[in-house]
């Protein structure tokens, strides 16, 4: 009887190992490296940033994650509701490497993550201000499965606990049907636009101890020509809700 139980347990361990390998090497979950915006006729704004925490203006998380907050004294997001959230403010560069503006990114682990589907989902938003041009909001779902598979796990498997190489991939996976992010313009040249964007990462080095060591991010934002349908869709009236004016001292921020 005992030998049957032992063989059953060994079989279960083999089965679980086989499942892990199947998920890890599943070719159906490979990431598309071609940007959906590469075939657009519209103008595309390209913004670059460093995805390394130490290169940002500030980066903060729960303080217990692999990547240390930067600067060291920054307030940490330790409260239960924001423990799985990261906040970053960074300088954005244009395609020529010139300073273009500031970008603030909030990202949170998503409950829609599903390892069976190869979906390591992060819900994120960008708040971007480009002086002289205007402001933008980008809302997206990102899928880091390919990044985990090609960069992070190989770093853990490496005897030196690091990964060096070249990896490039789109991380935006929605909400657009083609795996694009939703972009809404707030002011300036971008006022009223409702368009799409794609965020990509270009990784060259990753350390198990420090996290990303040499990783650049890229935002490709499609700018529709004025008068095209994308613009018309944003001209919606705001509802008739009112808030009674309170008697308070003037705002002094």
């Amino acid at each position: 009887m005992m030998k049957y139980v032992i063989s059953l347990i060994i079989g279960m361990l083999v089965g679980i190992a086989a499942l892990v390998l199947m998920l890890y090497f599943n070719p159906l979950t490979s990431q598309n490296k071609l940007s959906p915006l590469s075939v657009t006729d519209n103008d595309v704004i390209t913004l670059h940033y460093s995805a390394v925490a130490q290169d940002s203006l500030i980066y903060t998380n729960d303080g217990e994650s692999q990547v240390d907050p930067h600067p060291i004294k920054v307030l940490q997001l330790w409260e239960p509701a924001i423990r799985l959230t990261r906040a970053m403010a960074t300088v954005l560069l244009d395609s020529r490497g010139q300073t273009a503006g500031i970008g603030i990114k909030f990202s949170s682990d998503s409950e829609s993550s599903n390892i069976l589907d190869g979906a390591a989902i992060v819900d994120s938003v960008w708040h971007i201000y480009l002086p002289g041009r205007g402001s933008l909001f980008i809302g997206q779902s990102e899928n880091y499965w390919s990044y985990l598979r090609k960069v992070v796990i190989p770093a853990y498997r490496s005897s030196g606990d690091n990964w060096r190489g070249t990896w490039y991939g789109n991380i935006t996976s929605g909400p657009g049907a083609l795996g694009t992010a939703r972009v809404v313009g707030g002011s300036g040249d971008f006022s009223g636009i409702d368009t799409e964007a794609v965020e990509a990462l270009s990784a060259k080095a990753y350390s198990v101890e420090l996290g990303p060591v040499a990783i650049d991010g890229e935002l490709l934002i499609e700018i529709p020509r004025r008068g095209e349908p994308d613009n018309a869709a944003t001209e919606e009236s705001i509802g008739s809700l009112r808030i009674d004016p309170p008697d308070e001292p003037s705002y002094s921020l």
């Binding site: 279960m12 679980i16 500030i58 409260e79 799985l84 002011s187 004016p245 921020l253």
Partner: protein, 190 residues
Amino acid sequence: MFKSFIAGILLGVALGVAALYYVPAVDQVREQSMIEVKPNGGNTESFHINVPIDRIMVGAPNQQVALPLGLEWPSNNLFAGIRAELFKIRNAKDIVVGVASRVAASGGERGDIIEWVLHLPARGSVYLTMQPEAVIGGYRVGELRAGTREFSLLQGQVTERWIVDTAASDDATAGRIELKTEFVGRLEDQ
């Protein structure tokens, strides 16, 4: 014995799939939403930021003391008219429920801008653009320009105002920023 080994493999795969399917990989903590429903079907929700304890970053040129300590705000002239702030935001029960960014910029001929992005991890995010001038009563009015997830099909208004903390206790804050949202579903989606 070989049959029990094969059965074990199948059982292992099945258990693994079941575990991955039924056990959530991510479980966000969701605080109870403190929403007041209006007669028109819209809802009102109030958020606030205790200043200075909820301030994560103040990015502005020529600051005497950087917040956080060690912040190196770019000296580039491009950033001369920008003030970017990051905060934790709290609900009406004074519990932290998310993070927020506020960008204020003097746009020259284009006019000044004041914008908020509120990010509530368990619910979604909202993008709010404010009128630069405060109206009578000392509050500023804005509109919901875009939202994600549970805010994606909403429209409405928001107000912000600064409330001075008049408490005499030693642990009193300087004050708080109150954001009051009034959102309602878009007509075409109802």
